[in-house]
Symmetry: C2
Subunit: 139 residues, 2 copies
DNA sequence: AATTTAAATTAGAATAGTTCTTGATCCAAT
DNA sequence: ATTGGATCAAGAACTATTCTAATTTAAATT
């Protein structure tokens, strides 16, 4: 089944991102993530965009998220084996998981610091992706 | 069903680790991990220790691994949402995932470096656990 | 040494996030 | 308008892990 909804113009979301055609569903997913700092799960995205697209399916949300990740529009973030979360912050950063509240906060690097300065990497290593996760409490 | 196997003395594995009684199953799991640098999954541990304990169950392997993690005898390591892997290296270190071969290498910090020197942590943050994952290629 | 009690183990069922399948629908280009 | 490839929807399938219930083991006590 399809939505048969009009395809309104969303001036804040372009027609295309890094070569990915922005369908109505992808727009809603992306637009919601842009306004969220809470690193929502696929299911949370699903629940939220159903308000705008009542017939959207969870599989489509997964498809949209995966497409956006593949085209470097968003990042997928994992904590242990909890449900994956999605993050529109493309700058290199880590994630602090506050165990008291369950909330997740982006953590920036101090200016001028690169991971290679810190880690004893094997020679001839090409790093394509870095993930830094911190767990603890805000007191 | 039970093994009815004798409980041989393994001089390289103590009777107790950090207050955790080392049953035969826990000994086999722990001993195998100590000799492995490949960060095996629960299933890989299971397949391997079946040679010594033919009647061991996968649930028991999960129980043993969890008990060892809880008592700080080993570490649980996650890459995205792939099956969890287990690591006997207790020193603070990261993991480099070589995408070409699929192998995982421990990565040490450069001496004298602490994460707090590198990250812009919010004030009043108590860090209980850090996980650093790198993905890339060895050329 | 027998009894009691708690912990550990096992086998299989249950769970949950994610992926897959299939058919329908949309969209761009002819 | 038609065609062909991409996208979507609904639900089934998959899989790593956890849970349940029953059994067995080990430790503590008599």
């Amino acid at each position: 089944m399809t939505t048969h909804l009009p395809h309104p113009h969303h001036p804040d979301v372009p027609e295309e991102i890094n070569g990915l055609r922005m369908t109505r569903q992808r727009q809603e997913v992306y637009r919601f993530l842009l306004g969220e700092r809470s690193h929502p799960t696929a299911n949370e995205v699903f629940m939220r965009i159903k308000e705008a697209l009542p017939h959207v399916s969870l599989a489509t949300v997964y498809n949209c998220l995966e497409a956006l990740v593949q085209h470097n529009a968003i990042r997928k973030v994992n904590f242990d084996r909890e449900p994956s979360r999605y993050c529109p912050n493309l700058a290199e950063h880590g994630h602090f998981h506050d165990e008291t509240t369950g909330t997740i906060h982006d953590v920036k690097f101090k200016p001028g610091i690169s991971l290679a300065d810190v880690l004893d990497l094997p020679p001839n290593t090409v790093i394509k992706d870095v993930e830094i996760t911190l767990r603890g409490q805000l007191t």
